[in-house]
């Protein structure tokens, strides 16, 4: 297993497709349609969160803020959205490791998740960070 990814998106069909795509590439995946903090709190801490920024009842940014406050803050988060405005705001927030614009293809999805995992591993070991192909933001 390459890593455990928690994917949060309110479009069920896309959520399941992302789960399928990531699992086919060797990741283990927890797919959540409606993010419930209690559910997240009991989920095994993942290696990366993939969060839709425009969720039905909850804003992805608020969820990311909650996750950062309620985890050790070292789990990378990737914001995904079709809205350039939301992606820009997410970049500015400093909470996300990277943002990924919808639509995206398999190569972009796997590349983004993999790069975030590498960056996090490199950062925790003090190694160099390769941010090519990403939209890096400064973590708080």
């Amino acid at each position: 297993v390459k890593g455990h990814v928690v994917v949060i998106d309110d479009e069920r069909e896309l959520l399941e497709m992302m789960r399928f795509a990531l699992e086919a590439e060797g990741f283990s995946v927890t797919a959540l349609e409606a993010p419930d903090p209690r559910q997240l709190a009991t989920t095994t801490p993942p290696d990366v969160f993939l969060i839709d920024l425009l969720l039905g009842t909850t804003h992805g940014q608020a969820l990311a803020d909650w996750l950062e406050a309620n985890t050790d803050g070292n789990i990378p988060m990737i914001g995904i959205s079709a809205s350039s405005t939301e992606l820009h705001l997410a970049q500015q927030s400093g909470v996300f490791c990277a943002v990924l614009a919808k639509p995206f293809d398999l190569k972009s999805l796997i590349g983004c998740v993999s790069e975030c995992l590498v960056r996090t591993a490199s950062a925790s070991s003090g190694g160099a960070i390769d941010t090519r192909g990403l939209f890096p933001v400064n973590r708080r």
Binding site: E11, E13, L14, M17, M18, F20, A21, A24, D52, L54, S81, A82, S83, S84, A101, K102, P103, F104, D105, L106, L109
Partner: protein, 126 residues
């Protein structure tokens, strides 16, 4: 005769677009509710996707689904939308992947041109 699926937020919008294609092509319409189940059939030669939905992510979610799907990603897509900032931002990405862009308002010749180009790509690929 090509089989074309026209996807829009509602059937009225899909039909408006799809009726322009009927005759030389076999056209099936679907809305936000039926889009995924219809597309999963995988029986289409071309997908025309109107991405102007009240949910700003709806149409783009469908395109992302298609791009990630192990077989459906091979079906050519023409994206249809009115002028929008998002379309400008995504234009290059779409072009790089051979996804046609049909901007409203359009002339019938524009529509025919995009359909012909997309179907031509499909025939060349096969």
């Amino acid at each position: 005769m090509a089989r074309i699926c026209v996807v829009g937020e509602n059937l009225t919008m899909s039909r408006l677009l799809g009726e322009l294609l009927e005759g030389p092509h076999e056209v099936q319409y679907c809305d936000a509710e039926s889009a995924y189940d219809t597309l999963r059939q995988g029986i289409f030669d071309l997908i025309v996707l109107d991405v102007a939905w009240s949910n700003p992510e709806g149409g783009w979610d469908v395109l992302t689904f298609l791009q990630l799907h192990p077989t459906l990603h091979k079906i050519p897509v023409v994206v249809c939308s009115g002028p929008s900032y998002e379309l400008i931002v995504k234009r290059e990405w779409l072009k790089q992947r051979g996804i046609g862009i049909l901007e409203k308002p359009f002339e019938l010749d524009d529509l025919d041109g995009h359909i012909g180009t997309a179907l031509g790509h499909m025939q060349n690929a096969s």
